[in-house]
Each structure stands twice: as C-alpha cells, then as structure tokens.
C-alpha cells in the first residue's frame, strides 16, 4: 500500500467487498473478437485481407469438389457428364478404390485379410499408446506381429509359429543368463533364437501343407496404401528401440560399442534414403547367402529402419544430454544397476523430452515410404503414377488422385501429431 497520503497510513478493512461479475463488454465472444481480430487498425485490415484470401481459395475449390463426378468409368465420360462445368472427376477414386488401397495384384477375394490385420493393429497398438489400459492387453500386442504376418502373407501357419518360438526361446535364454551379465544374456538369446529358426526352417519345409489354410500371397503382390501403412508401422516400431539402443551405445564408456554406434549413425545420416533404397532393391542381395533370396519387402524394411533409427538416436541423445547429471548420480547413489537406472530413471525422462523430435521423424518416415515407388514397388504413389495414370481411361486425372493421396497421408500424420501432443500433456509432471 502506498503511503503518499498522510491520512491513509493506518487502515483496517472491516467489511468484505462482495464478488461481482465482470462488465459485459469484457467477456464472451464480443471481447474475443475485439481483442483478437480488431484490436488495432492494422489488425483489422489483416483480418479482412485474410477473410478475402479464404474466400478466393474456397470459391475456386468448393465448386470443383462439390460438382465432382463419382460414377463414370473414364476421364472422357467425366468430361461428357460435366459438359464444360467445373467439377472434379472423382470417378477414378471409386473405380480404382481397391487398387489404391491394396495394389493391383493382391487377390481381391482376400482383401478381408489385410483389413482384419488393420483392425487388429488398433487393438494391438492401444495398450502401447494409452498406458492406462490394462497391462494384460500387451500379450496380444506381442502376438500381433505374427498374426498380422500370417494374415497378410498367408501360407503355412508354421512359419509365424516357428518365428514366435524363436523369439520365446531367445527371451527365455536371455532372462536365464542376464543375471550373470547383460552381454551373455543378449548374445545367448540371439543364438538361441537363431538355432530355433534354423531347425524350424527344416520342419516348416518338410511339413508345409499343399493347401494352407490361408492362401500364400508373395510380397511383390502387396501394394497401395496398405504397403505404405505396413512399411510405416513396421519401420517406426523397429526403429524406436534400435534408436534407443544406438543413443545409449553412443554414450557408452566402452570404445568398441561407442565406435560402432558413432560410425553407423554418421554413415547413415550422410547418405540419402533413396540411395539406400536402391541398394536394397539391387545390391543388398549380395550380402546375403545366394540361396537366402531375401524378400524385397524385408530389404526395404531393413533400409528404412536403419535410416530412421539413426535420426531417432540423435534425437534421443539430445534428450539424454538435457538431463541434469544429478539424475544419474541419484540413481547411482541408490544402488540401481545401469540397466535399471536407464529403464526407470533416465529413459523415461529423456524420451519424454524427445517426443516432439521422435514424432517428427516418425511422420517423416511414414511419408518417405512413398519413395519405394521409385524402386518399382506399387505403393499408393506407385499405383497412381504407374497403373492408374498410365491407363487409357484415367490418363490425366492428376489433381483428384494426388489430392486423395495427400489427404490420406495428412489424416494419418495429423493423427500422429495430435496423439503426441496428448502424450506430452499426459506426461507433464513438472508443474512449474
């Protein structure tokens, strides 16, 4: 209280001032409009200019979209129906709908299989994305890759079962030996898994039924947006753990591990993804034994995963560097082992800081899956550029097709971005 007036030196309040509502022109939409859109002359001018630009855009696109034709069977028919009026030729979407989503070789009577796999993906991803859900659901998440593999590729059910057994065997050996030392457990687990897979390979071959329950579909028959989704989901979920491992390896005090991680990261970051994809399509086969004949899909997954894991590793390294040294010291002083300290203290905090960066890379990765169209895989963009635009019926419908592709990608990427913002709010515990 200022004491400029001599008479106000001593003051005691003996009645309370009752609470009153704020003046009407200081609340509600009027206030909002006045403060945000028409605060000053310049502000008002900008608002009007912006409204005009919005009008221009809508007046150009709305008639085109609303006047669109959905039911013809070629571009020339579209033109006839429209008879000079503005309007889009969306017929290409309805006519080639399945090709856009599944590619042009996936057997149409089997479309239910990838569709079911997609529905199950949501169930499998839910407990990972929303960790308030019951932890038991994670069992389904762990089984999902094998189920999805079987649904999409079909063939003998023994293949995913052997793959699963290999993972289980590897895990059992790992948990048995990890108490001795992490390296013993880790490499023991890998060796065990390889042995199971090797033996399982013979059994699968010997027992392969002539008519499997689900007809086999080769990788080269996959296509459309399904291929983008498969590459995106597989590569994101593989590259985050690999990225974490690389980031921790880069911090390691063991020179060999640190060296390998640094060289890997720096090399991958220095090479364009498109070169890696060309390597995958033509050259990677040389690195594997000739009889292995590694699937093109798998080769592309390896390349994209390596590519994005290097970037994710750098983002996570930033998160690790941002943690105060005291966190490491507190964890150490409580007697936590390295793996415990990382898992319980360091990574949860570092990953939280890294969420925006990781999401950035995941979104970029998902969009980069369209690059496989240049190595003659028929993903969504590959389908549009190849079979659809090259056909006599639809030669020339660029806006509708590419706009549709953009919309599909936008929906998925916007969803990822919204999720990450929710996640950041959910994890915010430092209420400062």
């Amino acid at each position: 209280m200022s004491d400029t007036h001599a008479q106000s030196v001593a003051f005691v309040r003996d009645t309370a001032i009752p609470a009153a509502p704020a003046p009407a022109n200081e609340t509600g939409p009027v206030k909002w409009l006045r403060e945000n859109l028409f605060a000053t002359w310049a502000n008002a001018l900008l608002t009007i200019a912006a409204l005009f630009v919005i009008y221009l855009i809508l007046s150009a696109t709305l008639p085109w979209i609303l006047g669109g034709v959905w039911t013809t069977s070629s571009l020339s028919e579209c033109r006839e129906v429209l008879a000079g009026e503005t309007g889009a030729c969306f017929s290409v979407l309805s006519e080639r709908w399945n090709q856009l989503l599944f590619g042009f070789k996936y057997p149409s009577e089997l479309y239910w299989r990838p569709t079911l796999a997609l529905v199950m993906l949501f169930v499998a991803a839910a407990p990972v994305l929303f960790f308030d859900l019951p932890r038991k659901l994670l069992i389904f998440t762990a089984l999902y890759p094998f189920i999805a593999f079987w649904l999409i590729w079909g063939g003998s059910i023994l293949v995913p079962i052997v793959a699963l057994l290999g993972v289980v065997g590897g895990y059992l050996v790992y948990s048995r030996f990890v108490t001795q030392s992490f390296a013993t457990g880790f490499f023991g687990g890998i060796v065990a898994a390889l042995i199971v897979w090797y033996i399982g390979g013979f059994i699968t071959e010997a027992l392969a039924p002539a008519n499997p329950m689900l007809a086999a579909v080769p990788s080269r028959d996959l296509g459309g947006f399904m291929l983008n989704l498969m590459l995106g989901v597989t590569c994101v979920s593989l590259s985050i753990p690999l990225g974490i491992a690389l980031a921790l390896g880069r911090q390691s005090s063991m020179p060999l591990i640190k060296g390998i991680c640094v060289i890997f990261i720096e090399f991958i970051r220095g090479v364009p993804l498109i070169t890696l994809l060309f390597v995958a399509s033509v050259m990677l086969a040389y690195f594997f034994p000739p009889e292995a004949n590694v699937d093109l899909f798998l080769r592309v997954v390896i390349m994209i995963t390596m590519f994005s894991s290097a970037y994710i590793a750098e983002v996570i390294r930033g998160g690790l560097a941002a943690l105060p040294k005291g966190q490491y010291e507190a964890a150490d002083s409580l007697g936590l082992e390295y793996a415990q300290a990382m898992r319980l203290i360091i990574l949860p905090q570092a990953l939280k800081i890294s969420i925006p960066g990781i999401v950035n890379i995941a979104v970029g990765l998902f969009k980069d899956t369209t690059l496989v169209s240049v190595i003659s895989m028929f993903d969504l963009v590959g389908m549009i550029r190849g079979p659809i635009l090259a056909s006599t019926e639809w030669n020339g419908v660029y806006w509708e097709l590419l706009g549709f592709a953009a919309l599909l990608f936008f929906v998925v990427c916007y969803g990822i971005s919204q999720y990450s913002q929710w996640l950041e709010r959910r994890l915010a515990t430092d209420h400062r």
Binding site: S333, L334, T429, D430
Partner: protein
C-alpha cells in the same frame, strides 16, 4: 550464516558412538587429470559418529564424500565402507551404494515419479522388497520427515525444503547404515533450512552414522561429535566441535572461522 539449529531448545541426548569402524579411508588420493584434488586423506569414522566437514569452496569436500559411495573414483589409497573394500568391482560398488544413503545439494528427486514412487523405487528394484511393504516403509519415513500428505504429488509441486526432506526419506527407505549429506541446505531459503536441519538432527539422535558437508555451524555445534576442516584437498584440522570453534589451531582454520562466523 544464521545459527538456525542452535535457536532450537532441544536437549540433545548423549549419543552413543561405538568403537566399530564404519568407514576407513587410508592414504586416499584423487586427481582430476593433472589436478590433485584430494591428498593423502586419512579418516576413520566409527559407527554412530556424526561428522561435519567444512572448508572453503573448492577444497574438495564434495569430492571426498562422493568418493565414499564411488560417485567419483579415487586413484590411490583405500576406502573401506562397512568392511567392504571399494574397488572397481561393480558388485562391491552396488553393495556399498545400497548401504550408504546420500543427499545432494539440489535434491535430485526423480521429477517423473510421485513422491511415493521416488521413495519405493530403489527398495523395490534393488532390495526386491514387495511393493506393499515398500510403500508402508516409504509412508513411515515420509511421516517421519512430516510430509505424508504429499505422497501422491510430484516433486515439482513441492517447496525446496519439502523436496530435500523427501530426498532424505528416499535415502532412508533403503535402510542405510551411513548417511552422506553434501550441503543439503545451501540451495534453500532461510525459513526452509530449519525444517531440513530438524530432520537431520532427529536422524542424528537415532544414532545414524552421518557425514555432512555443511556451513551450518549451529548444526555442527549441536549434533557433531567431530568437525573436520579441509583446505586444498587436505584435512587440515579435526576436533570436537567445542574445541574446534573455541581454539582453532591452524591459521587457515582461524581465518575460515573468522570469515564464516564473523558476521
């Protein structure tokens, strides 16, 4: 510095010091690169002893107590904690760390965990205590430091003094036999210093072996049974607090005390 603890009128009971050795440091030396931080440190701490370490900034006080639980490694000499020789063997280091509690100047609570989770984490993962039991222990110690009602908040929502008391409770949940404090009150506002010192005094009264780097001379007078003065990486003088403050022997100690008590 205000003698916050001294203003309190608790009659400190005679605290037992046994002749069992808790920490034994012999001819310990440490270098940071070419910089000789700790020189020929010899120190024996008996069970139940409360030792206050003081000295000018950069004299190596923090480094000394951080060597005791191997947050820093020493290059020469030996440190034995509770009969376990501190070597580069990870098993020994983890054993010592789970027996020795440590409180830091900046609390170093885990911001992504609630207060209760902060306290139960190490017992559950290191001691393999069942969660229920660990939570009961944690609540016991949170009551002891007088903040049981904050158990489900996050560290960021607590005041500095409360955070430091949580940090003490977190260490106590591991049932340590020795507690190390590195300037636990120097990041706190004066009114919060008292609540933390009270907690430490209570701990001392229960017979905890304590090594405490602090400039709270009132606290040293009240609870310490030995005060150690360090300068330039060496133990320059040590004595009972009474004698130490009344009759400092070395000129360096006299200068330090005149500076710290002078105003």
């Amino acid at each position: 510095m205000a003698d916050t603890a001294e203003t309190q009128k608790i009659e400190t009971p005679k605290m037992e010091v046994s002749d069992e050795v808790a920490i034994s440091i012999q001819k310990m030396n440490k270098w940071y690169g070419a910089f000789h931080v700790l020189r020929d440190i010899d120190l024996t701490v008996y069970r139940g002893e409360r030792i206050v370490i003081c000295g000018p900034s950069g004299s190596g006080k923090s480094t000394l107590i951080r060597c005791i639980n191997a947050l820093e490694e020493h290059q020469k000499g030996s440190i034995t904690v509770d009969g376990t020789l501190l070597s580069s063997d990870l098993k020994n280091i983890d054993k010592i760390r789970s027996e020795v509690g440590m409180c830091f100047q900046h609390f170093n609570l885990f911001p992504h965990l609630t207060i209760l989770e902060n306290c139960t984490l190490a017992p559950i993962w290191v001691r393999k205590t069942p969660r229920k039991e660990a939570e009961a222990t944690a609540m016991h110690f949170l009551e002891k430091v007088k903040i049981p009602d904050q158990a489900h908040k996050y560290p960021g929502m607590l005041s500095g003094g409360q955070q430091q008391r949580v940090a003490i409770a977190r260490s106590l949940c591991m049932r340590p036999r020795i507690m190390l404090f590195d300037e636990p009150t120097s990041a706190l506002d004066p009114e919060m210093i008292k609540e933390v010192l009270d907690t430490m005094i209570e701990l001392a009264e229960e017979g905890m072996t304590m090594l405490c780097v602090t400039h709270e001379m009132g606290f040293a007078r009240q609870v310490a049974n030995r005060v150690i003065f360090m300068d330039q990486g060496q133990i320059v003088e040590q004595n009972e607090p009474e004698e130490f403050f009344k009759n400092p022997q070395s000129p360096r100690t006299q200068l330090f005390l005149s500076q710290i008590l002078g105003h």
